[in-house]
Symmetry: C2
Subunit: 129 residues, 2 copies
DNA sequence: CTAAAGCTTCCAGTTGCGGGAAGCTCAAGA
DNA sequence: TCTTGAGCTTCCCGCAACTGGAAGCTTTAG
């Protein structure tokens, strides 16, 4: 199967698929004309990667997860460990964003937003809080 | 004042300060020896930038905000507009992360995390939800 | 006088692709 | 059969916002 059809079936842009081959996440065969020839297993892998990326896993995490997926001798504890670390990272990002959000929303509420130059937002940035 | 002292006073790494000069956010003078010579106003600007970055504003937003800060004829509505857009962006990032978090936490809870290979996390990635 | 610290510029790498150029292949219509 | 257009290939640049490191000059401390 050519990359265009694979792109639709896996839900990933052709550019992304080529990139994943570049970095060794998938290894499609090649036809005589030089075109990539994807097997069903490649499509399955690509869809797996797409979903892992949707959950926010880094490419390196995806590589690890894919490796575990294909390793019959894996221990689920290994998978859980990767997922838990990622969950922790997500939590700290959320916390950071919420902190920004809190400060920023206060400032936005305090700002009149009219034609006059006086602005609590700029004042806060200038003086620090 | 040299970059080292400015770095401490503004709370930004020297590399970052040089980068901000590169992209035209600050324009320190130069001493005869070629060293950057920062004025108080430069330090003030850098601290302003540091705080804006802490609130998650992009560099281009920072450039805009700094411009407004130095423009006596600004209207606070302009500042508020930039801040509100950023707030919206933060909100959607939070929403996206929470969505990831929700799915991922369910999966992590469902996974035994023991020595056996069976893993709901991998199963979900393989099949989609 | 020397060594270390601090400054300079420049270049490469990070993450995860996207855009676009140049060029080959293939499928369909006149 | 020829041609056109779509689809495929590789390659390299660019994004955001820096960080790290090399090579080399200046200043400072002992």
């Amino acid at each position: 199967m050519n990359i265009g059809e694979v792109s639709e079936r896996a839900g990933l842009p052709p550019k992304t698929i080529r990139y994943y081959e570049d970095i060794g996440l998938v290894r499609p065969l090649r036809s005589d004309n030089g075109y990539r020839a994807f097997r069903e297993s490649d499509i399955h892998k690509l869809a797996f990667l797409g979903r892992a990326r949707t959950l926010g896993f880094s490419i390196e995490d995806c590589r690890t997860l894919l490796g575990l997926y294909e390793d019959e001798t894996r221990e689920s504890a290994q998978v859980k460990s990767v997922a838990k670390e990622h969950l922790t990272a997500i939590d700290s990002k959320i916390a950071q964003l919420k902190s920004m959000r809190k400060t920023l929303s206060h400032l936005v509420e305090a700002c009149q937003g009219d034609h006059r130059p006086d602005c609590p937002i700029l004042e806060d940035l200038a003086k620090g809080s």
